[in-house]
Amino acid sequence: MPYYAKSEDWLHHSSLLLDARPETTIVTTRYHIKPARRRTKAEKEAAKAADAPAPVAEAAPEKPPRGHLVLKTYDPVSGVTLKYKTSKAAEVGRLVQMLGGLGRRMAALPPAEEAVVTEGGAEAMTGVEASGSGTQTPVPAAAAAGAPGNAGGGGKGKKKKGKR
């Protein structure tokens, strides 16, 4: 039951599993919320240092709960489970795009150009927005793929590209 460090790896292996067992494989997305921190140790130390003023400890307590996202591909016949875990909001768009790519495989449709585009983060994000507004996805996706190259020189280019 491996956790993959990269969502691309998860997607790759999930696609392979789905190709092998398209009828039984299911993809589960679990979004769960947990209280931000474990209080045990910090509390103990705070209690210890109760006499002394501790500005750091006082700044920390009111942290909002944090969400986590776990993607799981599971085939009940072979028992294969593939997982990917993240807590970054920036990845959600790309991950749902990946779910869409896997969905195409489930539906026995040929993988679209989008599925290839998913490799690049910036393109995937623009692809999602494009598919939200218009039905004709391949065209805007292709246009978006061309854009970052041109804008690379300017300061206004897709910043996500630099991160990879």
């Binding site: 679990r30 795009q97 489930m106 026995a108």
Partner: protein
């Protein structure tokens, strides 16, 4: 509960996410699988590589709030069928709802990049 239309599903899913907001714990499960009900295929038979079906099949999307056991009465189950021809449109909207609904994930950290950019300019 029967299946919802895609539009109804999206509305209910937004509500499901909204109900999670402001709570300190809990989970939402989203599942997708090929819809094979009534197609007379048993998983045991597919020992060899399964043949490509003649036409594209719909996929089933389910969403639950993961309640069970003692709190089963609070369980919310949603499901919808997505037609193969509507997959792209569906996932476009799905992404939007997930992005807004999963508000407690870590926001993109821009402070580091800004610091880096400053450094670069200074050098």
């Amino acid at each position: 509960m029967g299946q919802l239309t895609n539009d109804e599903f999206f509305i209910k899913l937004s509500e499901l996410f909204a109900a999670r907001k402001g709570k300190s714990h809990g989970a939402i499960y989203l599942v997708q699988k090929r819809f094979t009900y009534g197609l007379n295929t048993s998983p045991e038979k597919t020992s060899t590589l399964p043949a490509q079906p003649p036409q594209p099949l719909p996929i089933l999307i389910r969403a639950t709030n993961g309640k069970g056991g003692e709190s089963k009465s609070e369980k919310i189950k949603l499901s919808t069928l997505v037609d193969p021809s509507e997959l792209d449109v569906f996932y476009g909207r799905y992404a939007e709802i997930c992005k807004t609904g999963m508000g407690l994930l870590k926001p993109r950290d821009r402070t580091k990049r800004k610091a880096k950019a400053k450094k670069k300019k200074a050098v």
